[in-house]
């Protein structure tokens, strides 16, 4: 089974070479048969990759330590779920997951792409084949998960304890679905550049892919943030860590792409810019993939340990980013620009959005890569952290968030700011009221807190106003309004939900940062501590044994106002024998939208333990908002109106206008 998987992977590589060359030649020469090869080859390539991945996963599930990769990252005593998730909890396996998703998306294009012009489809599949071939070759030559050991060791080295968590089951697959989803947008862009023309329906074909990728990336980032929040035990939800920035950059660029693609789809404007954004977004995804797993960041060290891998990664990055940008430079001038619009219009607002988002992306990119470049050139080590991003990223986001509610209310081509402002009066009043209440009545309220809460309320109310206005609130009878509301296109709901989610996330961030409180103290069993109106009693440390670890679990009882216990929080320090590593399991209790967060420090000799306790008001909104954003994307995706119909070539083969002249 293992060797079958290995063989399937090699075969998939061979097919990806065919996929990248034959349809391309077919499209250049106009040969239908060569172009037709793309579809079946892509689908077969996906089936083989899936077989290969299944073989590796089953080796993990069966603790087959004759596979070096399994031996390095698994242990026979691990619970089954972590055995399986361990498949992608390491560099080699995660690369295999990456190509699995890549070939899956390629197969989707092949199967559902019948409405694409033949040459465009052939070129898109060829570009997907190029990406696939590069990754297959990378896996086979430098990161092969199927290398065998003979004789097989009896016991594995265990999965990194930090990764033995449900988060590993969800976070990387979501993130990769996001990263790789953008590869389809990239392939469409490069295909358009190869052909030298952008079909009118290009934006419509790209739109669902952008939405899918953006949706999964949003989920992946949110999940990653929550995972870091509860697993690392530091109580933070975002650290501006290079690895986090790596996924955030494609998200920012992808958000810009989502908006510019709307303009392109509706108004055929911003064509060239959208192509460029698609290329940039996927380039950042590639960078992100390698930053996380393979340490381009810690490149100095990674290259020393495995020069072949590092050089290969650099080659892939240079080839795809440099190659596509060069192609863009060569061909962009020959592409026709699209529709016209006034500066103040929906299009104008979206251009402004793009401007802010791309600048923000550049800021994050600089903050992430500058320390690296500096280290590589001068050897000096600096760390660029939250202060840098607060000073650069923050000021860019403020005006962007402030204009978000205006966008959906402006008309296409020529908008009326005054009219839009009048419609937003209620939302504005609500935001001001929220600011005043925060600033004047809530303890710990600062200017920043008031501003943040006001902005969040402004976003939420603005999103709701958009829906109300479009249903005709104020001008028609309630019954009519309800009917109109139900009849609104789903993409309108999608926009409103996504903007609403943004507001919720912002509210969560502001709430946690400004109104949270924190205590660090030493507690003995029986002692109580009070934080922001919640009383906790420390019951003691209890040793326990898990399947592949031992732990000291500290139990705390939440004491209500009446003196009775109404709930328990427990936090633990785990020790994993196989890796000789300790982890901290934080204790979290959700109360409404807020959370009480508890993490253990060092133990004293007398049964006392250092306890770090946080009160995090509204913190769940951070991730809840991301879920709402995902729902918005899903809603937008479900908008049938914007699907592309295949030209009815059989019913009316030659419509008057298209007959060759």
């Amino acid at each position: 089974m293992v060797e079958t998987g290995h063989f399937a992977l090699v075969l998939a590589f061979a097919l990806s070479l065919v996929q990248m060359l034959v349809p391309l030649v077919g499209a250049r020469t106009g040969n239908q048969r060569l172009m037709a090869v793309g579809g079946p080859v892509t689908v077969t390539g996906f089936a083989l990759t899936a077989l290969s991945f299944t073989a590796l996963a089953s080796a993990y599930a069966g603790s087959d330590f004759s596979v070096a990769n399994v031996w390095e990252n698994s242990h026979s005593l691990q619970p089954m779920i972590y055995k399986i998730t361990g498949t992608w909890g390491n560099h080699e396996g995660s690369m295999l997951l990456w190509v699995l998703i890549l070939t899956f998306f390629g197969a989707l294009v092949a199967v559902f792409g019948n409405n694409l012009p033949a040459t465009l489809k052939a070129n898109v599949l060829a570009v997907q084949g190029m990406i696939g071939a590069a990754f297959f070759l990378f896996i086979l030559t430098t990161s092969n998960p199927f290398i065998r050991l003979n004789p097989a060791p009896v016991e594995g080295r265990d999965l990194n304890p930090v990764l033995q968590d449900l988060g590993l089951a969800i976070h990387p697959p979501l993130l990769y679905l996001g990263y790789v989803g953008f590869s389809v947008c990239f392939s469409f862009s490069v295909a358009a550049l190869i052909e030298g023309r952008i079909d009118a329906s290009w934006a419509r074909w790209v739109r669902p892919w952008t939405l899918v990728a953006w949706m999964f990336l949003t989920g992946g980032i949110a999940m990653g943030s929550y995972w870091a929040y509860y697993e690392l035990g530091w109580g933070g939800f975002w650290f501006w860590d290079p690895v986090e920035n790596a996924s955030f950059m494609p998200w920012l660029a992808g958000t810009a792409l989502l908006h510019s693609a709307t303009v392109m789809e509706k108004r055929s404007a911003l064509k060239i810019w959208t192509l460029l954004l698609a290329i940039l977004t996927f380039s950042l995804s590639l960078l992100g993939t390698f930053l996380v797993r393979s340490g381009v960041l810690t490149s100095v060290h990674a290259f020393a340990t495995d020069p072949a891998r590092g050089v290969f990664i650099l080659c892939i990055l240079t080839l795809f980013i440099g190659g596509s940008l060069a192609l863009f430079a060569l061909r962009a001038s020959s592409l026709t620009a699209g529709g016209l619009f006034h500066p103040i219009s929906r299009e104008g607002a979206l251009v402004l959005n793009n401007l802010f988002l791309t600048t923000a992306t550049a800021t994050v990119l600089v903050g992430t890569l500058y320390p690296l470049a500096l280290e590589a050139l001068t050897g000096g080590k600096i760390s660029v952290g939250a202060p840098f991003f607060d000073l650069t990223f923050g000021p860019l986001m403020l005006p962007l968030l402030a204009i978000v509610p205006f966008g959906p209310l402006l008309a296409w081509k020529r908008g009326d700011v005054i009219a839009a402002s009048q419609r937003l009066m209620a939302a504005f009043a609500l935001a001001i009221a929220a600011m005043l209440v925060t600033g004047l009545f809530i303890d710990g309220g600062s200017v920043f807190a008031a501003l943040g809460v006001g902005l969040a309320v402004w976003l939420i109310a603005g999103a709701l106003t958009d829906l109300a206005v479009k249903s005709g609130a104020g001008s028609v009878a309630p019954a009519v309004m309800l009917r109109r509301f139900a009849g609104l296109p789903r993409s309108v709901f999608g926009t409103a939900l996504a903007h609403l989610g943004l507001g919720l996330t912002l509210l969560g961030i502001v709430g946690t940062l400004c109104f949270g409180s924190e205590k660090i103290l030493t507690m003995r069993p029986g002692e109580t501590v009070e934080l922001s109106g919640h009383t906790l009693r420390f019951e003691g440390l209890f040793p326990q044994k898990g399947p592949n670890f031992t732990e000291d679990r500290a139990r705390f009882l939440l004491i209500g106002a009446d003196g009775n216990a109404n709930g328990e929080i427990s936090s633990a320090k785990r020790f994993f024998q196989a890796r000789q590593m300790a982890t901290t399991e934080s204790g979290i209790r959700t109360l409404g939208l807020s959370q009480l967060y508890l993490s253990l420090g060092d133990e004293g000799n007398d049964g006392s333990v250092v306890v770090r306790l946080w009160w995090k008001p509204l913190v769940t909104l951070i991730w809840g908002g991301a879920l709402v954003m995902m729902a918005g994307a899903a809603m937008s995706l479900a908008d049938r109106r914007l699907r592309v119909g295949a030209p009815a070539r059989r019913r009316k083969p030659a419509a008057a206008l298209t007959s060759p002249t």
Binding site: L11, R33, A411, W412, A646
Partner: protein, 374 residues
């Protein structure tokens, strides 16, 4: 064999995926313009809906309609001539045949380099299920571990596993196993002595206080336990109380039955104790044997050469914790306190005065009667 059949079927499937479209019939092609026209029509109807919803002013909508109309007109004009000869020229036939050939050649060639086709899968369950007689010791241990993971209160299991761990030099596991056996099946001299040996071995042969306690517990249950007696004497020697150690060993020789396996160990220890002692780690068996056949002077010379060799090795590679402890002990045992002190100084310097290791060295040396020079 099965693998090659599967591989052949997979290759066949992949080749067919390339071959079939190349030989298939030509579908009626649609000109790219058809797609564009479809979109422009859609845009026109969408414009009407937007006007109805008030998303665009009627004047602008008129303009937009004109824009789309112009695009439709341009579409007709830019229509490309029917694509170049679809007939298969020689070049295209070449590409096609290359593609079909490339799949099997490339995959079998590459797999031949990378793969290990003869190696079957070995899931853990399968390895554990096979006949115990065919299993390696490691596998038997793994099987016992799996059994104990399921039944952690099987004292007999721990009792069986503990000495095996000891022999496999998995000392921490041996300690746990002995402790579990003692906890579940009660004290016995053999178990306590084994625990002591495991603790001592885990510490690189040093009989620590913990180990000493275990040996003493064993002697309480069985005063004649050879292992406990032997190691307690080793501990005495390590503390520098060589005379007492020699006395203990000599007493053992008097008591041990003639066929006891411990006799040779005790004799060896005695031979080394006059003056050198302890062989927990150091010279290999061959050297030991050679040493036994030498005259006392030669033996002394050989031991000194070996110690000097160790000293040299540590000069080149000073981060060898166990090596330093052996060196300090050797000098102490050879009756060269100055050199022992000097070795301690170098050991501490090698790891830094504040390091864990430095503390360990100092404590260890103190137990041998060597104190650091200040």
């Amino acid at each position: 064999m099965l693998f090659w059949v599967i591989a052949a079927i997979l290759t066949l499937g992949a080749s067919l995926a390339v071959l079939l479209p190349l030989t298939g019939g030509m579908k009626g092609a649609s000109a790219p313009g058809d797609h564009d026209l479809e979109v422009y029509r859609d845009q026109l109807s969408e414009l009407d809906r937007d006007v109805a919803r008030g998303l665009i002013q009627p004047g602008e909508a008129e303009e937009a309609r004109a824009e789309i109309g112009r695009r439709i007109l341009r579409l007709g004009a830019a229509e490309r001539p029917a694509s170049a000869s679809a007939s298969s020229s020689r070049g295209i036939r070449l590409v096609a045949s290359l593609a079909v050939l490339a799949v099997p050649l490339l995959s079998w060639g590459l797999y031949g380099v990378l793969g290990s086709p003869d190696l079957p899968s070995q899931p853990l369950a399968e390895r554990l299920a096979k006949n115990p007689a065919d299993s390696s010791v490691d596998e038997l241990v793994a099987r016992a571990e799996a059994h104990l993971a399921a039944n952690p209160s099987d004292g007999k299991g721990w009792d069986v596993l503990a000495p095996i761990y000891l022999r496999l030099q998995r000392f921490p596991d041996a300690i746990t196993a002995y402790r579990n056996a003692i906890r579940l099946d009660g004290d016995s001299a053999v178990r306590q002595a084994g625990l002591g040996e495991a603790i001592a071995s885990a510490a690189g042969g040093i009989v620590s206080a913990d180990a000493q306690n275990a040996f003493e517990a064993a002697l309480k249950l069985d005063p004649a336990n050879a292992k406990a007696n032997f190691y307690l004497a080793v501990g005495l020697a390590q503390e520098g109380r060589k005379d007492e150690a020699v006395a203990a060993w000599q007493k053992m020789l008097g008591q041990l039955p003639l066929d006891s396996p411990w006799r040779s160990a005790v004799q060896q220890a005695l031979a080394e104790a006059g003056p050198p002692a302890v062989a927990a780690s150091g010279p290999d068996a061959q050297q030991m044997e050679a040493a036994q056949q030498m005259s006392p002077q030669d033996r002394q010379a050989m031991i000194e050469t070996m110690v000097a060799g160790l000293d040299d090795k540590l000069k080149q590679n000073p981060r060898d914790e166990e090596g330093w402890m052996r060196l300090i002990r050797s000098y102490a045992v050879l009756g060269k306190p100055d050199q022992a002190r000097e070795a301690l100084g170098r050991a501490v310097a090698a790891f830094g005065a504040d390091s864990e290791q430095a503390k360990k060295f100092t404590a260890f040396a103190a137990s041998l009667g060597v104190t650091a020079t200040e």
